[in-house]
Amino acid sequence: MTQLALVIDLNVCVGCHACVTSCKEWNTSGWAGPMVDQNPYDGSPTGTFFNRVQTFEVGVYPKTETVHFPKSCLHCEEPPCVPVCPTGASYKRPDNGVVLVDYDKCIGCKYCSWACPYGARELDEQQQVMKKCTLCIDRITDAKLSDRDRRPACVLACPTSARLFGDVHDPDSEVSIAIRERGGYQLMPEWGTKPANHYLPRRKTVMHIDQDELTRVDNPLRKEDLTTYTGEETLDDVAW
């Protein structure tokens, strides 16, 4: 079975929010839209987003790491949000594992959001139905788009290519290889939700310099006469 998912590389995410607004932009006019904004030009503006980039600080100054953390629906393999839905509006597609909401069936009881430990679902406050990341289902299955474009908007947008997209069940896919070889992990593994989306951790490149490496035979200083004689008296002049 295919399980489509995103793999998000925290090693390169700079927190630019490109994925946030490209998602909104594609989806508000697409199958999963609109994505409503409340108080768009007033106090406390708020709206539906399928994807947010958050910022965390790890450690204490000066050993601080700033972690930019994009978060969207993880398309769990055991999605806890699906069985609790009383109407069947929330479902997981059998063909590609994408977790979706059928807005026409949704009664806006918000129970699915309680059953998501990740806060991935957001209620459309105007239409009063639950909305969430669809992995741009209307792009990735649109045969009229080119292969390159048949990917989620956030993946196309991401300037650091911190978002990989593919089938995590296919061991040879780019995402599976990344998870396997670059320490891909799941969020809140303690709940057994088996998120399909994975995150790749920070990696550090460190340089070690041996003291011996500092001075070399070809040191350019050897080409200079570093002790110029300007006529002052030396031992040469006074000793015998």
Partner: protein
């Protein structure tokens, strides 16, 4: 969690309705067993009507929780997996049985249908009462399991939630039965009052156990598991939106910790000692109003209890919504 008043009303109203119905059936059973004097059918019928009104009010309130109430009928679809769906199915069944029980009494359908053993004559009211009892207990379970079934809400994810909902609902129902009896001058006020006190005390034990459990609860998730970074100091700075989001509105009670503490204290006083003392005082003074006061106090207390129940629960998603910048 953000305490939704629709849900507070729903659970407390139907809890009291179920409890009142259980009280009626209990009264009838005691009468059959001749521990109590037989009451007029009208007593049960009116009691059932009150229970039904409470159930209906609860149902009505639940619609306010729905974004799309006109589609509420769809909620029965997923009874195999969803406790919410089950509640949606069981609630009308309970209402139907309560209604039927009341009608049966009103119409005095008390001709024995069959006999069990030597002396137990089973009539329609008894049959409906027993079925209604089963359904009511099922409803307590369904309602409570909506909360207890969400494993992420560890404060709720315990059998104590079911026990609390059941005993506190039953207690408020019996308290109402006592108030009802007192109001119409029926001597059963003592009987229902005593049961209400017993149920309240059991509820107290179970609720205190719940509070104590939650006070010592170790949350499975931490900000470390939430973002997958192992370090003792991980602090959120920005959540990606400065004007709030559904996540900040639905999962936070938005009040100070001291307010939450006050509400907890209020419910601990109003739900437990106040009604017990009032019922006790009613025994002594034979006052017809004190049991009514006891119910009112307990019901108000239960609303606070339910508010507190929501406010207590810390959803793991909140780990992602700790700070704005």
């Amino acid at each position: 969690m953000h305490p939704a008043f629709s849900v507070i009303f729903l659970t407390t109203l139907i809890g009291a309705g179920q409890g009142l119905f259980l009280a009626m059936v209990t009264g009838q059973l005691y009468a059959i067993a001749r521990f109590l004097p037989v009451q007029a059918d009208r007593f049960y019928a009116v009691g059932s009507l009150v229970a039904l009104i409470l159930l209906l009010a609860g149902l009505a309130s639940s619609f306010f929780h729905l974004g799309r109430p006109e589609r509420a009928w769809r909620a029965a679809a997923k009874w195999r997996t969803s406790w919410l769906s089950r509640e949606v199915i069981v609630l009308p069944i309970v209402m139907a049985l309560v209604f039927a029980y009341g009608i049966a009494h009103w119409m005095a359908w008390t001709q024995p249908l069959f006999r069990v053993g030597e002396s137990l004559q089973v009539d329609a009211t008894l049959l409906l009462g027993l079925l209604g009892t089963l359904a009511s207990f099922a409803l307590f379970v369904c309602t409570a399991m909506i909360y207890a079934g969400v494993k992420f809400l560890q404060e709720w994810h315990t059998p104590l939630t079911v026990v609390n909902f059941t005993f506190l609902g039953a207690a408020s129902g019996f308290m109402l039965a006592a108030a009802y009896s007192a109001y119409i001058g029926n001597p059963l006020v003592t009987f229902f009052g005593t049961w209400a006190v017993i149920l309240t005390l059991v509820g107290l034990i179970s609720r205190l156990a719940h509070l104590s459990r939650n006070a010592h609860l170790k949350h499975k998730s931490s900000v470390q598991t939430a973002i997958g970074v192992r370090h003792t100091a991980v602090v959120q700075k920005a959540q990606g939106a400065t004007g709030g989001s559904f996540n900040t509105r639905e999962f936070f009670h938005g009040r100070s910790e001291s307010t939450a503490g006050t509400v907890r204290l209020v419910f601990l006083v109003l739900v437990f000692p106040v009604p017990i003392l009032l019922i006790g005082a009613a025994y002594v003074t034979a006052s017809p109003t004190l049991p009514i006061l006891a119910f009112v106090a307990q019901y108000v207390g239960l609303m606070a209890e339910r508010w507190s129940f929501f406010a207590e629960a810390r959803h793991p998603q909140n780990l992602y919504y700790q700070s704005v910048a």
